[in-house]
């Protein structure tokens, strides 16, 4: 019992009243009494997974960078994002932000505008942080087929480890769907070009105007490179499948956008119908408006079933574009020479849910009607061009067949992005690219799986949070958007980003708020160098710290189960 010596005291003799203290005060130090032995439950500082991090397809440490932004540590925040996503200036603009949909704050007042924080940091980093160079040298070679987000992410993380990466791109410039699919009012080309410099700095080579499957074969790549990553996307247009669907004046949405994004002005008539309810349809319609055309959207289900990002649909309507719901094309109307004059439509109603969980549109009998048009843009989904693949690569119904980490049935051949999943999102492609790169590098510990136990809204102690509305996202007026492709959202400034990040609950992650330290009735939270530690000699395990932790970063476990932990 050596520790006892420290507190050794000679007990005064209490022989008469005057020997006593003036009230009931212990005569020896209470440090002698190691009340920690009474404990049945033990508090542990144990960070949990915030829902935003969990939902992000690139596993960005969102809570982490919001915390750094709160402290105005922008460079650190930027570096933290780059661990998981090399291109925050892009995702900050175009990501459909599943993080915000899962944000616990949405149940309190409004989700954090995470994408705006990300965009600010992304832009700040491009201006202020030097581009990364390869960390090591590596002789292994990698061929990447397609320069969209999946390929870009893979190239970045492989490049960091010194892999010799060559990207093959069919188009004249790099970027894939980011360049040719997404209009400049959402992602200015200059931002994309600046982000692409990161890959050049890492020594990536590129072969543009080189269509794999035509100019060069997958077989050739397999023979000449150590690894092949197929990520050529899903660009094949799906025809309407109604009479006259190849009439003059019918154009695919992607083709239309690609022309605009290549700097051309598509020659189409003034009154345009865009058919479809996805992001391509919205992008095409909003682009029409900017070209001075008169677009409308025709969609066979309702707003609720639209696959497009709700914010984009809102913006579309704000710009005055009419969306006609519950209509499906029956026939394209055309002149004898095959020039579009209109479309015959049929009213639909919603039936039982289909495989996607959305209610299936069912035709309403004798509801046909016609509208006059000069052009039709089809945006009813894109398909993967599987013709470029060698026959030995296994395929699914819609794309290349791979395992969870992008491996095909052929050793050292990977496939990622839309060519695997069908048309999906930028962020999912980035995530897939990163995971495949980690797989090739052998950094499998960095490949994070989603947890089914992220911090829930009900896990938080809301007594410690004040209501605060989302910081308004600045944008240019509807009038200012006419006939140009100026970026609609102008982004947060420093003041706004500090204010918005301050709203983050920091779910499940200790952000040193001092609550446990202040409220521990046994003074058993010790603060050392800014870090907390429990003094288990005296902690009685009352659980006040865990209960009062605003963000659920303290867990109580039974003493008998401590060993298991």
């Amino acid at each position: 019992m050596k520790w006892l010596d420290k507190y050794k005291v000679i007990h005064p003799k209490l022989e008469k009243e005057t020997d006593y203290p003036h009230w009931a005060i212990s005569l020896t130090s209470t440090l002698l009494n190691r009340t920690g032995t009474w404990r049945i439950f033990r508090p542990l500082y144990q960070d949990q997974i915030p829902p935003c991090n969990n939902e992000c397809p690139t596993n960005e440490k969102i809570q982490g960078y919001c915390d750094l932004v709160k402290q105005a540590k922008f460079a650190e925040a930027y570096k933290l994002i780059l661990e998981d996503n090399p291109f925050p200036a892009i995702t900050g603009r175009v990501c459909y932000h599943p993080c915000e949909n899962s944000c616990n704050r949405k149940d309190y007042d409004d989700a954090i505008a995470i994408h705006c924080v990300e965009r600010f940091i992304g832009d700040w980093g491009l201006k202020n942080v030097a581009l990364a160079k390869p960390k090591v040298k590596n002789k292994k070679t990698v061929a990447i087929v397609g320069s969209g987000p999946a390929g870009m992410a893979a190239a970045y993380y492989l490049g960091l480890e010194g892999y010799q990466v060559t990207i093959f791109e069919k188009q004249t410039k790099l970027g894939g769907m980011l360049r040719y699919g997404i209009p400049a009012y959402r992602l200015p080309k200059a931002v994309l070009d600046t982000e692409l410099k990161k890959l050049i700095k890492l020594g990536m080579k590129s072969k543009t105007k080189c269509a794999v499957g035509k100019d060069i074969t997958i077989d050739y790549l397999r023979k000449n490179y150590d690894y092949v990553i197929i990520c050529h996307g899903a660009h094949k247009n799906r025809p309407l499948g109604v009479p006259n669907d190849k009439a003059k004046g019918v154009i695919s949405g992607l083709e239309f956008l690609s022309q605009i994004n290549s700097g051309k002005k598509p020659k189409i008539g003034k009154k345009v119908a865009v058919i479809g309810g996805g992001n391509t349809a919205i992008d095409a319609a909003r682009s029409c408006l900017r070209l001075g055309l008169k677009p409308m959207i025709l969609y066979r289900r309702t707003r609720l079933e639209m696959p497009a990002v709700p914010d984009e649909v809102d913006a579309c309507e704000a710009e005055g574009i009419r969306i006609e719901f519950l209509v499906a094309p029956v026939k394209v109307l055309a002149t004898k020479k095959g020039k579009v004059t209109g479309i015959e439509l049929m009213r639909m109603k919603l039936g039982k849910p289909d495989a996607s969980g959305r209610r299936r549109p069912v035709p309403v009998a004798r509801s046909n009607f016609k509208i006059k048009l000069n052009a039709i843009i089809t945006a009813i989904g894109e398909q993967v061009d599987l013709s470029i693949l060698t026959p030995d690569i296994q395929k699914t119904e819609w794309g290349v067949k791979v395992d969870r980490l992008g491996k095909t049935n052929i050793t050292n051949v990977y496939a990622i992005g839309d060519c695997v999943t069908g048309p999906k999102t930028v962020v999912e492609a980035l995530g897939a690219g990163k995971r495949t790169a980690f797989q090739i590098i052998g950094a499998t510990e960095k490949i994070i799986s989603k947890t089914d136990k992220p911090v829930k809204f009900t896990d938080l102690n809301l007594d410690y949070f004040e209501h605060q509305d989302k910081t308004k996202i600045p944008e240019i007026s509807v009038a200012a958007r006419k006939k140009n492709f100026k970026e609609v959202h102008t982004g947060y400034n420093k003041e706004m980003v500090l204010k918005e990040s301050e709203r983050c609950f920091s779910c499940g992650v200790c952000n040193k708020c001092d609550n446990c330290f202040v409220l521990c009735p046994d003074l058993s939270v010790i603060k050392d160098n800014g870090e907390y530690e429990f003094d288990y000699d005296y902690c009685k395990g009352c659980g006040v710290c865990a209960h009062e932790c605003p963000r659920n970063a303290i867990t109580m476990i039974e003493e008998s189960k401590v060993e298991e932990q």
């Binding site: 209490l14 009243e17 006593y20 203290p21 003036h22 009230w23 009931a24 005060i25 212990s26 020896t28 130090s29 209470t30 440090l31 009494n33 003074l523």
Partner: protein
């Protein structure tokens, strides 16, 4: 500086001039104005104190005890049911020897619900170990509040300053507000010898077995016994600086009195007028104002009362099943003295029913006319 203020605000100014450092209170009619003004003082910076908001009087007293144990000057105020809710903590405050000062506005206990004055709330707390001082005027309220801190800190006992609901609490009178510098001279910052100290953690108020409990209780009683001398010296010192004194009791025209009337609180000032009238009529009557209720000023009471032939006690309270509380105290003080005068216990004015000069006149007159009290309680003003 002279100012016309209510009794409640006299309390607030007293606590402010005493440079109270921590205030924790919960509002209750008729006390609310006391803490209202104090919170304004805190907000404006006139008083540099921490105002701790709480959800109940029990917590208010708990906060005061804890604050006081760290060695800061601590104040609260309450009334009636609020005081009753504090009951457990009143024992604690005295048992932990904390010099907390509290103003209690005498209000009748419910039910029936009442906001008007009587003394049952504070007298019910007789045995908690608190010093109790009853006040007659707003000036006395202010002066007593300032003195209460000094008494409490010298004895390490909590002190209750008591004033009548509405008759004082909400009635404005001219009050002489002393200069801060003089109050500072009278009441310098105090140092608690044994206070909560993080670097020397000890157990405070913990389990105390039969081997030790008794001695600590003995010390509380000894402190109460010292209180009479301490209160007197504090009073004298106050008188020197401010020119006003109150004593633990006050004997008014008692020297040759055959009947002495015993009063407390504001009934005293009404009684003074009646005594003067009766003296003019040639009747030998005196008045004893009992300001200090706990500890009981037995010697002082005996000295004055023993000379009279009869004693009439006005009790604006009742200890159910016995009699008026002040009368019991007076009887007990005189017990064992050969030839002690008989004590007439008049219970009057419960729940704030008015106690008029005529009623007091009749009480004294009745005492003159009656040899010995025929019943333990003589009811006045109750519809029988």
């Amino acid at each position: 500086m002279k100012k016309v203020i209510t009794g409640n605000h006299a309390v607030s100014y007293g606590a402010q001039l005493a440079r109270t450092q921590v205030i924790s209170a919960y509002p209750i009619t008729p006390q609310t104005q006391v803490v209202e003004l104090l919170s304004e003082f805190c907000a404006s910076g006139k008083l540099k104190a921490k105002f701790i908001k709480v959800e109940s009087e029990h917590s208010a007293m708990t906060a005061c005890i804890a604050a006081s144990l760290t060695g800061v000057r601590t104040f609260t105020a309450t009334s009636a049911h609020g005081l009753a809710l504090m009951h457990e903590m009143l024992h604690w405050a005295a048992g932990a020897r904390t010099p907390v000062v509290m103003a209690n506005i005498n209000r009748a206990m419910g039910p029936g619900w009442s906001v008007w004055t009587d003394q049952n709330d504070s007298l019910s707390q007789r045995d908690t170990g608190w010093i109790q001082l009853y006040c007659e005027s707003n000036q006395e309220v202010l002066d007593t509040t300032i003195q209460a801190f000094k008494i409490a800190e010298k004895l390490l006992l909590p002190v209750m300053v008591i004033l009548d609901a509405f008759v004082l609490s909400h009635t404005s009178e001219q009050v002489d507000l002393p200069e801060q510098s003089v109050v500072d001279q009278f009441l310098p910052r105090f140092e608690l010898k044994t206070k909560l100290d993080l670097s020397h953690p000890s157990a405070y108020g913990g389990l105390t077995n039969p081997d030790h409990y008794f001695e600590i209780r003995y010390k509380i009683q000894k402190a109460h016994e010292q209180a009479l001398a301490v209160i007197k010296s504090v009073n004298d010192e106050f008188n020197e600086l401010f020119g006003r004194k109150y004593g633990v009791i006050e004997a008014y025209r008692c020297d040759d009195a055959k009947v002495i009337l015993v009063t407390s609180g504001t009934i005293t000032s009404t009684a003074r007028v009646v005594i003067d009238t009766m003296r003019e009529q040639g009747r030998k009557v005196g008045l004893l104002k009992q300001k200090l209720f706990r500890p009981t000023p037995t010697e002082q009471l005996r000295e004055v009362l023993f000379k009279a032939q009869k004693i009439a006690v006005i009790d604006r309270n009742i200890s159910f099943g016995h009699s008026g509380v002040f009368a019991q105290e007076i009887k007990s003080s005189l017990y064992g003295l050969a030839g002690a005068p008989p004590v007439f216990d008049y219970i009057i004015g419960l729940g704030g029913r008015d106690v008029t000069p005529d009623a007091i006149y009749e009480i004294i007159d009745n005492t003159f006319k009656t040899d010995v009290p025929n019943e333990p309680i003589i009811w006045r003003g109750v519809r029988l």
